[in-house]
Amino acid sequence: MSKFHITATVNGEAVEYLCDPKQTLLDVLRDELNLTGSKEGCSTGDCGACSVTLDGRLVCSCLVLGVEMQGRSVETIENMTEGKTLHPLQQKFLEAAALQCGFCTPGFLVAAKALLENNPNPTESEARYWLAGNLCRCTGYDKIIRAVLETAADMRGAK
Amino acid sequence: MARIVLGDEFGRQYAGGQTHFDLDVRNVRHLIRTLDDMFPGIGEQLEAGAIAIDNEIIPDPWLNPIKPDSEVFFLPAIKGG
């Protein structure tokens, strides 16, 4: 089975890659483009560790085929900082100790960023449901949810 | 004479049910040898387990001195998660 030649935009830059039809976007990011910040926890869309935005939409990159990407644009955790400056969510996660092992953290940050872009003033319940597709086994979610809500408040204040 | 407590388990298996002994021993290594002489085979089992001297669980007990008024317990090894 011959490989597909795909041209797509990854983190704002045009990239080309070859992939097997069965390779997922996650496989492509990690193995072809060496962007290993997106993690594989289940490969069935149940853990959210591979969360990215595809044409601005939050998705699990394990549930997107690499061959679907022709002409499409994806943003990953590697593109979350603004230059050398951490995104407010990244900074808050550090200060609020909202991570332990850190494996689910990239997915949570990408998903939380999408939440705040979609809803700058989420309630605790809205934040918990939006992030229900991101599994964390270390923290019990407490510090993660607090960090997201505090960041939302900070960002509203900054505006 | 230090007070040595084997615990039900080793007592039933090796010492005919006896669990408490008063022994004159210098250190744990000496104690285990003494017990193994009394109840052949018990030494290897005791080596694999944990030991508490005077209510303190001792990780590397071999050379740990035993005072005449010490109380020594043998207990199963504990594994954490």
Binding site: T81, F93, G102, G140, D142 | E44, F74, G81
Partner: protein, 756 residues
């Protein structure tokens, strides 16, 4: 070690940003699966579709011929191991361990490895697995522990003869061992009780549920040296077990500790590392093996299902007079259940003069049963706390009062031997008793549940190095994988002792060739034991500094004291006229005063103080569906001394969340064919963010006399009380008490309807 009693800490007890944090929020941190070496192959493992079967033949010839396949291995590629536990093996039977990693002669569970391949792509590796022809003779299987203990149950091993019974059995069975411990005479003492409650409990196997699947990369060089990159709870354990299983010299294996994406006990033993090493040797190329989530569930080391009988007798005033417990724990396909700690910890929160605990362990056709956070204790505690609660209901005594009245404390004789030193059980109970949650009125179908829990905590072997750079900054190294933020606490303790800024201390986890031996990260031992090694190493640096300054000042060392990172003249000493010298100033002159400033320590820490936790929670039960909502949760715990309170809170909150999942929804579901039916995160239901409330934590600090700063392990005890706390809350919300875990909606609804 210098005493720190009453010292005002500058860094200990604060909440600095963790040193590894930035890499983890930017995606830069590397875990086992993130390694990608030149020429790296993909390894895949063929696994048994049967719960129990004899392997008649394995034909790998077709797979070997497939283009792109570089190596195929089976059990015959693994050296034979002695079947037994040799002195110095820390209780590990390497024949069993090897047979679990690659099945020999028989497959003992659904998912048991039978062969492995390394190929140039994942697709080819999977195609190769499909070409391996394994002929099986399917055998009857057994999953449930009670069934496994029955005479005539399908026999897993010919060589298991129950230990701990007299006379020694002549016939093999699935029952690995019987253990017993006692205080006083429980069976006689029941006659003094005004009320006796006896119940039987059943629980299903659960998984640690770490989000990172096991992953390893192995590479051989032409000189026969082997390098392994993997995430584990102990790279020294990976090195020791891999070398032993493959008959290599230990120093021949160098294990690089990658960031670890959760473990909770599940990464304290090898599953795929030796396989990757063998594949890499045979393929003469680097090989990466990463488990799928399905493999993680079917073929790692989940916690046991159990069957438990507990009987407790009490006086009318709530005084507990006697208790017995029989704990029957599943082992997996090989011995190794945590029934010992279960027996020892079950009644830990209670002072009982008459107590007898008996434990049984039986092998079953399911994956190796291994450690999960406070191994064995949560299930035993669930049974005990349920009955304590039922007694308090029947005697109409406040559940808090009965626990305080009988609570274990300093001097309490534990069933496993020692008496307790200073512990925080009563302090935790009183903290919860005074918490505002008790004032919140409960609505219809709501209930409040209370439970206490105990865990030993461990010490053991750790090494640490503190290197002072020429500008006075410090790099510190240990061999303990950082699973929850321990690099931060190591740096805090080093900064505290050295008297320099936290930001000037950079901690790393060294590989097996870079730093001295450290035991696995388990038993809540790292901040306690490895931290003690860091303190000792830092103190050695301080001592060297004082000695060098004493020489410069031409005074004796006692005339030089260490304060806030400076060598100062001891008040009234002959050095009185000298100006203080900072660590940076001393380091700058190190080359003139005796060379590099390096402190190191290798210790075997004793004195790990037991941890106690008390939890209270409110739940609401939907009486028409049996659905449970956890409304509020408060956990109090004695941390001895919290080095980094945020990560202590994180350990408590994480343990609580795991305990809630265990109580309500998590379980291994098997079909009649003995195959797991829910080996994915869709149907193995760990709690999601919307399932949980905020988890309020109360950290108490009853210093552990066995640690210079008073530290106790905190990681494990938080998972002990939640099962009982949730069960007791449901019982009080519905009037129906459940004795089976998980307490899933169908079971709860059935219990409610049965009561009508």
């Amino acid at each position: 070690m210098a005493g720190y009693e009453g010292k005002q800490f500058k860094w200990v007890g604060t909440r600095p940003v963790r040193p590894d944090g930035v890499d983890k929020v930017t995606g830069r941190a590397n875990y086992g699966a993130d390694i990608n070496l030149a020429g790296q192959l993909t390894g895949r493992i063929l696994r048994s579709p049967h719960a129990h079967a004899k392997i008649l033949s394995i034909d790998t010839s077709k797979a070997e011929k497939l283009a792109g396949v570089k190596a195929v291995i089976t059990a015959k590629d693994f050296p034979a191991m002695h079947n037994g536990v040799l002195p110095g093996d820390e209780g590990v039977n390497f024949h069993y361990l090897s047979s679990n990693i690659m099945a020999r002669g028989k497959v003992l569970y659904d998912g048991h490895a039978v062969a492995a391949v390394a190929a140039t792509s994942a697709a080819i590796a999977e195609e190769a697995l499909a070409l391996i022809d394994v002929k099986y003779e399917v055998l009857p299987h057994v999953i449930d522990v009670d069934e496994s203990m029955q005479p005539g149950a399908p026999l897993l091993h010919e060589d298991i003869f129950t230990t701990g019974v007299n006379p020694k059995p002549e016939k093999p069975s699935n029952v690995v061992q019987r253990i017993q411990m006692a205080l006083g005479d429980a069976n006689a003492a029941f006659k003094d009780a005004d009320i006796v409650v006896e119940r039987s409990f059943k629980t299903k196997a659960v998984h640690q549920g770490y989000i990172e699947p096991h992953a390893v990369v192995a590479e051989w060089s032409e000189d026969g040296q082997c390098r392994v990159w993997c995430s584990s709870q102990g790279h020294f354990m990976v090195r020791a077990m891999t070398a032993r299983l493959l008959k290599m010299e230990v120093a021949q294996v160098r294990v690089m500790p990658m960031e670890i994406g959760g473990g909770f006990g599940g990464k304290t033993i090898v599953f795929i590392e030796p396989t990757a090493v063998l594949l890499a040797r045979k393929a003469e190329r680097p090989v990466r093996v990463v488990m799928s989530r399905d493999e993680v569930f079917r073929a790692t080391g989940p916690a046991p299902g159990t069957s438990i009988d507990v009987k407790i007798g009490a006086k009318k005033d709530g005084t507990l007079v006697a208790a017995t417990g029989e704990f029957r724990y599943q082992a997996g396909a090989f011995p190794g259940s945590p029934v010992g700690p279960a027996c020892m910890a079950a009644f830990g929160p209670y002072a009982l003069a008459n107590l007898q605990v008996v434990g049984y362990e039986a092998v079953t056709n399911r994956p190796l049963c291994y450690s999960y956070r406070a191994p064995g204790a949560p299930l035993a505690s669930f049974a005990v706390e349920s009955i304590i609660d039922e007694i308090s209901q029947k005697l109409n005594i406040d559940p808090m009062e009965i626990r305080i009245k009988n609570g274990s404390k300093e001097g309490t004789q534990m069933v496993y031997g020692p008496k307790l030193k200073a512990v925080g059980n009563l302090e935790c109970l009183k903290a919860i008793q005074n918490h505002p949650i008790n004032k919140i009125p409960l609505g219809p179908n709501q209930g409040r549940g209370l439970a206490a829990g105990f865990w030993f905590n461990l010490g053991g072997q750790s090494s640490a190095v503190v290197n002072i750079a020429e500008d006075g900054t410090a790099t510190i190294m240990t061999g303990s994988p950082d699973i929850g933020g321990s690099r931060a606490s190591m740096a805090q303790m080093a900064a505290e002792v050295l008297g320099i800024d936290y930001a000037k201390v950079r901690p790393i986890v060294g590989d097996t060739s870079a730093v001295g031996f450290c035991e696995i990260t388990h038993g809540s031992r790292v901040t306690f034991a490895t931290g003690m090694a860091i303190i000792e190493a830092a103190e050695s640096v301080v001592k060297q500094c004082r000695e060098r300054v004493a020489k410069m000042w031409e005074v004796d060392v006692d005339s030089v004291i260490w304060e806030d990172g400076h060598a100062r003249p001891a008040p009234g000493s002959t050095a009185d006229n000298q100006k203080p010298l900072s660590l940076a100033q001393i380091a700058a002159k190190a080359s003139r005063t005796g060379g590099p400033l390096v402190g190191s320590a290798a210790i075997n820490a004793g004195g790990a103080g037991p941890a106690f936790g008390v939890h209270i929670c409110d739940v609401e039960v939907d009486p028409e569906t049996g659905g449970v909502t956890v409304l509020r949760y408060v956990a109090a715990q004695d941390a001895g001394k919290a080095i980094h309170p945020s990560y202590v809170e994180g350990q408590i909150q994480g343990g609580v969340a795991q305990g809630i999942g265990w109580a309500l929804n998590e379980e291994y579901i098997y079909g009649a064919d003995g195959r797991m039916q829910n080996s994915g995160f869709l149907d193995y239901r760990i709690p999601v963010a919307s399932d949980l409330p905020m988890i309020d934590t109360l950290i108490l600090e009853v210093p552990n006399p066995g640690h210079p700063f008073g530290v106790r392990g905190v990681g494990e005890v938080p998972i002990v009380p939640p099962l009982g706390a949730i069960a007791n809350a449901i019982a009080r919300a519905t009037g129906a008490r459940l004795f089976d875990l998980p307490m899933s909606p169908p079971k709860i609804l059935a219990a409610i309807d049965a009561k009508k």
